[in-house]
């Protein structure tokens, strides 16, 4: 069911939290130029993550008994938007903080929670997510990596690909087959926590169009996992993964990916005195669409805070949001191209080129446009 999204408001007390955050982020990222900020949540800096942890801002929504701050969804929205809006280098802890931590809290055993969650909150355990395989992209249920039960736990063989940060993470939460055959599709899949330092694990970074290596190929050859590597129930992997993806899609991540470029362009317009009607129209159009999307994203957060499950609405906002994120470099390039007499700075030129090149990934990661539109259509009862 696709529900109506109503204008929601952040509770008053979040503005104090926002001020603290903004001051801290400004200080901690002062040496970063727009080109570095434009990596958004692909910018990796373990030192920055440790600093955030020291402030108590990792594991923000996790219970205090596991080292978290036990804050609500609105605080998480503010934290995410301040970090992403500034282009802070959050990649090291982002997945652990946003997806793996909440997943372990929801499905993990007490022992797993006590082991992993405090490490996540301290910035000592970085996670990656093993979903796609060489022949399983959008068709996730066709994965072939397999873990077989033995007397020591699980014996894992197979491979994963396009795994963000696999070469920089301590753990992977992987979706693998634990029973049945590929034809069984969603049945027989489970989630396992894999210590990436174990023998038999090989990680090979893949260089992307921008020259960065933020994702990897991971090979598992007779990797022996302990029995407690299983998270949640054996065979419930598909359901758990979908709950996790719904969480992934629900945040403001899908609005701010091109924000560093927008800020850089605005700064340059002011500095260089670019005030033409094209500049006004370009900036106004981008800001208007950002403002509407932000209220839509906040409305999703409000639904989460009320205990609802807005997974269809989150897919809608994500698909719409990535459209704007991808339009932004084109709109800015068009605007600059209307003024051959301008001399843009090196920083703006290379930031624009970077965002232009990497932006196709915005509508691939975490579910392609086609997958999301299928989810919306199902929510509308069309399939």
């Amino acid at each position: 069911m696709l529900d109506v999204l109503d204008l929601a408001y952040l509770p008053q007390e979040e503005s104090q939290f926002r001020s603290e955050l903004r001051a801290f982020i400004k200080e901690a990222t002062q040496g970063m130029d727009a080109y570095a900020r434009a990596r958004s949540w692909m910018g990796f800096d373990a030192g920055f993550s440790k600093k955030l942890a020291a402030k108590g801002w990792l594991g923000l929504t996790l219970p205090k008994q596991y080292g978290g701050a036990e804050k609500g969804y609105f605080s998480r929205f503010v934290l995410s938007e301040e970090l992403l809006g500034a282009g802070a280098p959050v990649s090291a802890h982002w997945i652990a903080d946003r997806q793996s931590g909440p997943l372990i809290l929801r499905y993990g055993s007490e022992a797993q929670k006590q082991f992993y969650l405090p490490r996540i909150c301290q910035g000592d355990a970085f996670f990656c997510i093993g979903m796609s395989e060489p022949n399983s992209g959008s068709d996730l249920a066709s994965i072939k990596s397999r873990a077989v039960k033995n007397d020591k736990g699980w014996l894992l063989n197979g491979s994963k690909i396009w795994t963000t940060n696999a070469h920089k993470s301590h753990y992977m939460i992987a979706l693998v087959r634990t029973s049945g055959e590929p034809d069984d599709r969603q049945k027989g899949l489970s989630q396992l926590i894999i210590d990436l330092s174990l023998p038999g694990v090989t990680v090979r970074p893949i260089v992307d169009v921008a020259g960065d290596a933020h994702f990897s190929e991971v090979f598992f050859t007779d990797v022996q996992l302990a029995e407690d590597a299983l998270i949640g129930n054996e065979g419930d992997g598909w359901e758990q993964v979908n709950a996790e993806l719904a969480f992934e899609r629900s945040g403001p991540e899908r609005i701010y990916s091109s924000m560093a470029l927008v800020e850089c362009f605005l700064k340059e317009c002011r500095q260089q005195g670019w005030q033409s009607e094209q500049v006004q129209a370009t900036l106004g159009g981008i800001v208007a669409r950002l403002a509407v999307l932000r209220t839509m994203s906040l409305a999703i957060t409000c639904k989460l805070a009320k205990g609802e499950n807005p997974s269809v609405e989150a897919s809608l906002v994500k698909d719409y949001g990535t459209g704007l994120e991808q339009d932004i470099p084109k709109l800015i390039a068009d605007c600059m191209g209307e003024h051959p007499e301008w001399a843009p700075s090196v920083e703006l030129i290379k930031t624009l080129a970077l965002v232009d090149q990497v932006c196709p990934s915005y509508s691939l990661r975490g579910g392609t446009r086609e997958i999301l539109r299928g989810i919306i259509a199902r929510g509308l009862g069309l399939r």
Partner: protein, 342 residues
């Protein structure tokens, strides 16, 4: 009305009234004057025209935020009357110490030609110009109240929403109001155009969904084809964004929209208008462009009103100029500050 939110008793009552009117007169905008008068008198006798007036003046004191859904109903039921505009105009007139005239009031801020030389006021694209009783038209730094009785009709455009009309300047009442009041009136014209459009979009979305589920080709409903599903998903995104924009535009505790929030909303609604109309027609096929089938009444309204009181570029420039001028503010600080509905 599945997707229409009914937030208060007024929403429900006006929704019922409009549903009845819509059933009685069909969706057609090509009405006779007699039909128009009958529709208007039903609305006027309902008492809903005063909901935005203060309680001491017999109104309900509704703010924009509280009245926003009512404006949407005009478009959702495709009423051929300037309901939103009349509510807003009455509130503006009252707030600026002016007498409120009998009958409907259109606010027009576009293409108003005031010529001292020829002694005429001409508006070539005036909303409901052949039907409404009164018109508040904005010239350069001036505002006139004009009545239908004194108007000369040049042209009624085909869709029945707009007409070309002229008046003798001698028949115009020039209102003595502040510059701020003139700005406000221009903003209200934009508001009266955009919010009913969103209501029309909501109806377009429902019609498209219904049609896709019901129409069969290749032995199955259109809705079972992935290509159609994805188009409807995109349509949903646009309508959902437009609906949010309408709420943003109306996010005011009084009768004046915040100019920046209004610019955001006007841009967003115009931005999706053609796409919403295009997708709905694509899904409907040939039946959608027949006179008999109601879709075109709604899509005409959406397309015709998308540039009323300024196109998306016009409002983007206003907003962009403001953003550029806020030295020391970043996009993020503005999005989370003054551009955040609070």
């Amino acid at each position: 009305m599945d997707n229409l939110r009914m937030d208060n008793l007024f929403d429900e009552a006006v929704g019922r009234l409009f549903a009845d009117i819509s059933e009685k007169f069909g969706n057609s905008l090509n009405l006779s004057s007699a039909d128009y008068e009958e529709i208007w008198s039903e609305i006027a006798t309902s008492g809903f025209l005063d909901v935005m007036l203060p309680e001491e003046k017999g109104g309900a004191g509704l703010s924009l935020q509280e009245a926003g859904n009512l404006f949407k109903l005009e478009g959702y039921f495709n009423l051929p009357v300037p309901f939103a505009s009349t509510l807003l105009a009455r509130s503006w007139l009252d707030g600026n110490g002016q007498t409120i005239p009998e009958g409907s009031v259109v606010i027009a801020s576009m293409g108003v030609q005031v010529s001292e030389g020829s002694g005429q006021i001409v508006v070539n694209k005036l909303p409901f110009g052949h039907l409404a009783a009164n018109f508040l038209v904005l010239g350069k730094q001036s505002c006139y109240l004009l009545v239908r009785e004194k108007a000369v009709l040049n042209e009624i455009y085909h869709a029945g929403l707009f007409a070309s009309v002229r008046w003798n300047l001698g028949d115009a009442i020039r209102l003595d109001v502040s510059a701020q009041a003139l700005d406000d009136l221009h903003n209200l014209a934009a508001l009266a155009a955009l919010v009913p459009s969103v209501g029309a979009m909501e109806r377009i979305f429902e019609m498209t969904l219904e049609y896709a589920n019901q129409r069969q080709q290749f032995g199955r409903p259109l809705s079972k084809f992935q290509a159609i599903q994805h188009q409807i998903s995109v349509l949903a995104e646009q309508v959902w964004a437009a609906r949010m924009a309408a709420q943003i535009a109306c996010n005011s505790g009084n009768n004046r929209p915040d100019p920046n929030l209004l610019a955001i909303a006007r841009y967003q609604v115009s931005f999706v208008s053609d796409q919403v109309a295009d997708i709905s027609h694509a899904v409907h096929g040939a039946i959608g462009i027949t006179e008999e089938y109601a879709l075109h009444f709604y899509t005409s309204r959406v397309r015709e009103f998308k540039s009323e009181a300024g196109t998306q570029i016009y409002w983007a420039k206003k907003l962009g100029q403001h953003v550029l001028g806020q030295e020391g503010e970043t996009v993020l600080s503005m999005l989370t500050g003054e551009l955040c509905p609070g």
